[in-house]
Symmetry: C2
Subunit: 259 residues, 2 copies
């Protein structure tokens, strides 16, 4: 049983936890990961500044340091995720559970806000968050919304996640999530998927398809997979991310990110 974020981090560090973190240590903030060489970190920071909804940075490390000090007191970004993904020149080459041996002195880590944070708030309001109800991953799509470019990060299609609601629950979901601007904030689109370039809502590009009931409206949020999409285009020589769903759990609470 993982009660606190630290419980989860220690289990990852000691190799006891290599699976997804969804639902673990309820109330504690979970974060996505991007690690880049310093040479690429500046461009990535500007990319994030220009695209805060898909890329809400919660913490940037000191150059060469593996120690998290804002989201957590004693986190180690090389060991405290259950699983990582290593990309070389934009291609996935490995999925290790520890990256200590890959760390370089010029690496900079970015911990990035995750929709798990606002989903907790949706559940607290008794909303039916469909993929959770169905025990699935959230459906994600490559949209035709193009992110503002920055340096070598350009021509990036924004990745969006979708959650369907009744119209009245949709109003609640919009109001709740806009209070969390540092974890994706309010939706970027509501209704007709084709308006943002999604041809078949039942065929997501990542995650699982979920049931949309008669009379429900789909809401689309900017998604933290977008930075990986940006990297797939920019092809940095090396970039390390979390494996999808395998997050860093901090000492801060989701509520700390409510405005």
């Amino acid at each position: 049983m993982y009660v606190t974020g630290r419980d989860v981090r220690l289990a990852c560090r000691e190799g006891r936890l290599t699976s997804q973190t969804s639902g673990l240590a309820k109330g504690y903030v979970q974060a996505n990961l991007a690690i880049l060489p310093k040479d690429w970190a500046y461009d990535f920071l500007i990319f994030a500044q220009r695209n805060p909804k898909p890329c809400p940075i919660l913490e940037v490390g000191e150059v060469g340091s593996v120690k998290s000090f804002i989201l957590s007191k004693d986190g180690d970004v090389c060991t405290d995720f259950p699983k990582y993904r290593v990309f070389k020149d934009g291609e996935l080459v490995d999925e290790p559970t520890d990256i200590s041996d890959l760390w370089q002195d010029d690496f900079v880590y970015f911990l990035i806000g995750c929709s798990f944070s606002f989903e907790e708030a949706l559940l607290s309001a008794d909303l039916d968050v469909r993929h959770i109800t169905e025990g699935k991953n959230v459906p994600m799509y490559r949209s035709n919304l193009i992110c503002q470019g920055a340096g070598r990060f350009k021509d990036t299609q924004m990745v969006v996640s979708m959650r369907p609601f009744s119209p009245s629950d949709a109003m609640k979901a919009i109001a709740i999530t806009r209070d969390f601007p540092s974890v994706h904030g309010g939706p970027v689109h509501i209704g007709d998927p084709s308006q943002i370039g999604i041809q078949d809502i039942n065929s997501p590009d990542w995650g699982d398809s979920v049931k949309i009931n008669e009379g429900e409206v789909p809401l689309f949020w900017a998604c933290g997979v977008t930075p990986q999409q940006a990297a797939a285009v920019a092809k940095p020589p090396i970039m390390i991310t979390h494996a999808p769903g395998h997050m860093f759990v901090g000492d801060k609470k989701n509520y700390d990110y409510r405005i």
Copy 2:
């Protein structure tokens, strides 16, 4: 009469306007300025990421480029402010009205959110924004709230601005300003000034003292003078800012920055 942001920018560019921009081109977003060499820009970006309330970056330029392209379509950061301040090694050395001859190939500009944006929303709600009612500058104070350091930007006391309200209007002012997280957002403190290190609320460190009526409560917001305070400590070899109150006026509207 300046109807649009472009009207103001052209007047600055042609030398027709060298005075404050408060109240000009109502509805259009106004922005603070910081220009730093690329060598310092990375640290400044991290400083801003760690301290978004006092340092809400709205636009970062490409290295060496003077052309604004997010807040405006055709802005030139060297000519489109009415007045600038040039700091060398942390010391104010000049207050020119055009900095084209000072521009260097390694310069990066930052346009930073300004409280003028949320003040318009407060006025629209018929709130009495005291310094505006009194025709003064907002009172600003060096607080004992210490910003999170980043690289060479460290040990920076957050500068705060103060606006007094009746308790019921204070509730409205909090609700309104929290909807503008990219222009300082909600207050950082309410009530007793001594709790954030302000000894005499009638002696601001910048701007003018304003009347606080019986029964009113002071609200304190993070202030855009904080980056200049950070520079005064870090002492970059050169840093150029706007002169206080002499802002860049964009093509975007204040409402674009409401969540």
